[in-house]
């Protein structure tokens, strides 16, 4: 079966590394030396533990730089103060409202973009005339920075959720559309011809031939769109002032509540991490289901 390659970083199998491949299959296991040296013991620290160590070190640097006076505390308060401010935030209703607003704007915008991008991608991709006729327009509209629409959005839609949605949908729509188009183009011509030969209805062709090939591409598009959508949600809050984390951060900065500002930045980062992790988990889940179903269907 066809192996899906991520469109953003795809590289051919022949170039991919066989990570730490021992030259020949391992043979005889020999008991490990009794007393490993200190250096060897450090080397034996698993990577995950090193990562945790990295986070701790980073936090320590954030704490010490202002404490030692290397950076003025009015620019960078000690890490503990950021955490204190974060604690205050977690106890305040306004913070949770802002967080919810942000998640809402992101989720609605992403959902609209994904549905629209998938539907249009399937239709345009399946009809050759449409694909050729729209190619130049897509190539022109896609690179337009969605933030250019901010003034227009404010004029027409005001400073509420509507403006945020317009920007988020515009930005998140393109990666989905392009990936779905790529997926439809990747459908095996033999499979397509076979389906036509057996008299599959267009709907059945879409369901059983086009969709399974396109799904991995759609997942890649979803992953890219999810992080772009978050960037645009926060941007629009920052610039337009629609309620959410972005406007809270701007407010904290202008009112000189510096630890609070950093606390909110940490929350925005954590939100970004959640979005990435969720998108990757969803991708893995859907794709594992997808391959297992296909393997079963073949057996």
């Amino acid at each position: 079966m066809r192996v899906h390659q991520r469109a953003d970083t795809g590289r051919p199998p022949a170039l991919s590394p066989a990570a730490d491949r021992p030259p020949d299959p391992p043979a005889t296991a020999v008991p490990a030396p009794a007393a490993p040296s200190a250096a060897a013991r450090l080397r034996a620290v698993p990577d995950a533990a090193l990562g945790v160590l990295g986070i701790v070190l980073f936090a320590a640097v954030l704490e010490l730089l202002p404490r030692l006076g290397a950076v003025p505390a009015k620019y960078l308060p000690p890490f503990s103060e950021m955490l204190g401010a974060l604690g205050d935030e977690l106890g305040s209703g306004a913070f949770w409202t802002a967080l919810l607003d942000t998640v809402e704007g992101w989720a609605y915008g992403l959902a609209i973009a994904v549905v629209a991008g998938t539907a249009l991608g399937l239709v345009i991709g399946s009809v050759e005339v449409l694909r050729k006729a729209t190619a130049s327009t897509i190539e022109f509209l896609r690179p337009i920075p969605s933030v250019a629409l901010i003034p227009l959005a404010v004029l027409v839609l005001g400073t509420g959720l509507g403006s945020t949605l317009l920007l988020v949908v515009y930005a998140a729509f393109w990666p989905v559309l392009l990936q779905v188009l790529g997926g439809v183009r990747d459908v095996d011509p033999v499979a397509r011809d076979t389906a036509v030969g057996y008299g599959f209805s267009p709907w059945a062709r879409l369901r059983h031939v086009v969709w399974p090939t396109t799904l991995p591409y759609l997942m890649t598009g979803l992953r890219l769109a999810a992080s772009v959508a978050l960037i645009l949600t926060v941007s629009s809050q920052l610039i337009i002032g629609s309620p959410g984390l972005g406007s809270e951060i701007a407010r904290a900065q202008s009112s000189n509540a510096i630890p609070r500002m950093y606390a909110l930045v940490l929350v925005a980062g954590a939100l970004g991490v959640c979005v990435n992790v969720l998108a990757r988990a969803l991708e893995r889940r859907v794709l594992s289901w997808h391959t297992s179903v296909r393997t079963e269907a073949r057996a």
Binding site: T9, R11, P12, A14, L15, S16, P17, R21, R43, D47, L50, G51, L53, G54, L57, F58, Y75, L76, K132, A133, T134, A135, S136, T137, F140, R142, P143, I144, P145, S146, V147, A148, L149, I150, P151, L152, V154, L155, V156, S227, I231, V234, S235, L238, I239, L245, G246, A250, Q253, M261, Y262, V265, A268, G269, A270, L271, G272, V273, V275, N276
Partner: protein, 281 residues
């Protein structure tokens, strides 16, 4: 594609016939290329001309405003400085990202140490850094360039790390056997070997850079493209605002075209390799 005309002619084909066919396929191609954009522009023209809405000026108003607004000292005062900051920030992000990425890609222990922290920085939506950096660096060029760097850096960095790690083991052994070390190794093996991923990172970084260029000027500035467009909006100079949006759109399009050219130059070999591998299967 050629099936529509090819079936009629059998055997030897007259030169005129071939010329005609070429002309026709060229015309079809052109129609596909320009048909929809022309239709959309016409639609805009008609709708805007009939509209009495203040927010939707007619297309000729916008074009007139475009010429008047941007073919003036604004090019020197607003457009070029914006582009300069964009270039400085983007190139800074590229250099730092590729440099650090190569370093981390070849040092697995340092990479393991820093990876979660870097993933966090990548996940922070870059616009929230604007207020933070404004605090430290004011609202001058430095702040804006640093904002662009700090947002565009991460895709380049993390993609470079991935690309360097993915360099083929046999290729790297070959390079060692033939004495490729130091800068020669970097120039002939590491950078070209990681270039598919590096270019993918640079592409993501370009669109992030443009976004950050615009909103760093929208958020806090007294000049620049983003600032000017928002000023037009606030002062209800609607055709001028539209012309600014048009300019930003053209800018994005032009830069993505330039990038596509760069990519086809740098990665021509990679496309060929991929195609030959796909052909084998």
């Amino acid at each position: 594609m050629s099936g529509m005309t090819g079936t009629k002619t059998k055997g030897a084909e007259s030169r005129a016939g071939r010329g005609l066919r070429l002309l026709r396929s060229g015309a079809v191609h052109l129609a596909y290329l320009l048909g929809l954009p022309a239709a959309l522009l016409a639609l805009w023209w008609v709708l805007a001309a009939r509209s009495t809405n203040f927010y939707y000026p007619t297309l000729d108003e916008i074009l007139a405003a475009f010429a008047e607004t941007w073919f003036s000292e604004r090019i020197v005062d607003d457009v070029l400085p914006s582009l300069g900051r964009l270039a400085a920030g983007y190139l800074g992000a590229a250099v730092i990202g590729i440099g650090l990425g190569v370093l981390l890609g070849t040092r697995p222990r340092i990479r393991a140490l820093l990876e979660p922290v870097l993933e966090f920085f990548r996940a922070v939506p870059p616009p929230v850094l604007i207020p933070v950096l404004m605090l430290v660096a004011g609202i001058g060029d430095t702040m804006k360039i640093v904002v662009i760097i700090s947002g565009a850096l991460w895709p380049v960095l993390l993609n470079t790390v991935e690309g360097v790690r993915a360099i083929d083991e046999v290729l790297s052994d070959t390079a060692r056997c033939y004495g490729l070390t130091g800068t020669a190794r970097l120039r002939r093996l590491v950078l070209p070997g990681a270039s598919p991923q590096i270019v993918a990172g640079l592409r993501q970084a370009l669109s992030i850079s443009i976004i950050l260029m615009v909103i760093s000027e929208m958020f806090a500035s007294s000049s620049g493209l983003g600032f000017t467009v928002v000023q037009f909006q606030r002062s209800f100079a609607i055709p001028e605002m539209w012309s600014g949006i048009l300019l930003l759109g053209l800018l994005g399009f032009a830069l993505s075209l330039l990038f596509a050219l760069f990519e086809s130059r740098v990665l021509g070999w990679y496309r060929g390799l991929r195609q030959s591998q796909r052909g084998e299967k």
